[in-house]
Symmetry: C2
Subunit: 342 residues, 2 copies
DNA sequence: ACGCTTCGACGAAGCGCTTCGACGAAGCTC
DNA sequence: GAGCTTCGTCGAAGCGCTTCGTCGAAGCGT
């Protein structure tokens, strides 16, 4: 492998001149630069990443602390990861994977101290996340995906659950729906303070109230069978129901099953809208589910950008940046049926 | 950040002694080692990764060239990635993501020349894959997931499609099924030489022949709607059909829809078996689909192990290592119904 | 007691780059 | 034309480690 010294010799200049030609940190006469570039080409020179990092004290590496993939149907995490990796590359950074759970803060600290990463992206943070604490202690720039309890002074990007739910309700109300139910994640997750579940629940109540409507919400275990039971329960407690919003992919399959079982047509009798879904979930059902899918790729890009902001000018970015989910029309939404008893 | 020099001073030894205590490359007297470790602990010392890599000429980094996530329902890629990342970490390596398509061989070469990775894992290789060519030219150790046309001398790990299909058929035959259909990926993918589709098709014919049965196979676009059409077509051309094997997740949803539409009960009238699926797909249907899911995690671990084999002793591992899919019982398999006309 | 090996530690030379200070040549001012 | 700045380049000092050669001290056999 050719080194910068080989290039310098070939081009008849000093090593430092080659370095400056490479980085542009000092002016080089055009014909000298030409000569250097020609030599680099001839030798197939690529600067050694390790030497460069050591000398410049910048590794050009971003670490991504990421959660279990693949629970649920989720392609969202995959989208996020790929977008983050691509954006990093565009900006001349590499993305390394640190598969650490919440409990492995010590490992995070050690790796951070090894100077392998200039900054860290932390996915699926929890309310009290030790990993964030050690990163702050180690003075390593980071961006969270999600939020800790203290969110004011910590840079993060996340799904805008408020806006997503608000838009979902608005859309349904616009179609004439007045009796709208919401199927959330499981009660355990809500009790555990799982951010999305808690925030969406609050947002749903608020959005319904904003339209002068009665909120009807249920927690639901992540399973089609329970989703089916919950749907039955919802129909029993509110027979005038014409729309169901779900934030629970597996439960959604149960919603479909129960409605079909009862001979209720989608969307003629009941409209169904899946929010914060993975991409591609809509086509798994018949009729295709209308969804508001999580902006995984956009979040990935944004997270990298916010991190690089910190790395370049040292300034802290906006502490929080939220992106709403995107409506992906399917065939499961329609105007509310005329209420049988209203 | 403490350096090795700080530790040496603290412990009253030379820098090289600390280094040897760290690596174990030369014997150190126990009490000296004690003292050094105590100093390291006190200073919170972690060796600088860049300096270490530069001096030792080993980056302790594995690169993963990986495909688009999230087409299809797939959690398999996610499983693979996480398992590979975890295994790497266990072995003291980092996993970096190189989001490169088949066409970006030049980028792969450049990055490889930068010495950032000691070895490379290449996912979703195609029959003639330039990325493999440049890696060989650059003498960078690699392991493929999948196969190129020339597979004899190239280390790879992959799903054992032969064994998977063979076991699937065997299982169904054991349940008394004689008229078994196979739904493959789309014709375009087969024509394009997409390995899994081609190999599974061949394996199906062979397995059926091995049991003295008539193979009945169909290509099918990746969509529930087309899956439904193909199912109708299969039932028309072989009314005695009692089992359907699918290697096409989206189509499987269509299979269910068509069977239910015709009042054919699963598994009483027709058994359905999804092979090479992502984990968790089974529970999306009712009754839960029996699957043979792709061993993503196992492949991830294995790929890393095979790569590290090369890195440590320089010997080439077994060129190919295949792992069959694992049967995950659902509720969609049952004994063949008595043939109405046999 | 002598030379021999073995053990444990040290010093120094890199690894391939970045970056700082310096310096000759050329261009400017008055 | 003396003194100034500006431009383009060079040399050398690291960055924080690994690793090779070396060397004193202790342990061995005879």
């Amino acid at each position: 492998m050719a080194t910068i010294a080989d290039v310098a010799r070939e081009a008849g200049v000093s090593v430092s001149t080659v370095s400056y030609a490479l980085s542009g940190a000092r002016p080089i006469r055009p014909e000298t630069r030409e000569r250097i570039q020609e030599s680099m080409r001839r030798l197939g020179f690529q600067p050694n990443a390790m030497a460069r990092s050591l000398a410049s004290r910048r590794s050009k590496v971003i670490a991504l602390i990421y959660p279990q993939f693949g629970d649920g149907v989720g392609g969202t995490v995959g989208e996020f990861v790929r977008a983050a990796a691509e954006r990093s590359r565009e900006q001349g950074y590499q993305l390394v994977l640190w598969p650490f759970e919440v409990g492995q803060a010590k490992e995070v600290r050690n790796l951070a101290r090894q100077g392998m990463a200039d900054g860290v992206l932390v996915m699926e943070v929890v309310l009290d996340d030790q990993r964030i604490d050690v990163l702050e202690a180690a003075q390593v720039p980071y961006v969270m995906i999600g939020r800790t309890r203290d969110v004011q002074h910590r840079p993060s990007v996340d799904i805008d659950f408020d806006a997503t739910v608000e838009r979902a309700i608005e859309h349904l109300v616009g179609l004439g729906h007045r009796h709208i139910a919401f199927i959330n994640h499981s009660q355990e997750r809500i009790d555990a303070g799982y951010g999305p579940a808690v925030r969406a629940a609050v947002a749903f109540d608020r959005a319904m109230a904003g339209h002068g409507l009665e909120p009807l919400a249920r927690a639901c275990a992540e399973s089609p069978v329970v989703g089916r039971e919950v749907t039955a329960d919802l129909l029993a407690s509110e027979p005038r129901l014409t729309a169901i919003v779900t934030m629970n992919e597996l439960a959604t399959f149960g919603v479909y099953a129960e409605l079909q079982h009862r001979g209720l047509a989608i969307p003629h009798d009941v409209s169904v809208l899946g929010i914060v879904t993975s991409p591609g979930v809509g086509v798994l059902t018949y009729p295709p589910l209308s969804t508001m899918h999580a902006p995984g790729a956009e979040l990935g890009r944004l997270a990298v950008d916010r991190l690089l902001d910190q790395l370049s000018d040292g300034r802290h970015p906006l502490p929080n940046q939220l992106i709403p989910c995107v409506l992906e029309p399917g065939m499961s939404l329609g105007p509310a049926r005329t209420e049988p008893d209203a």
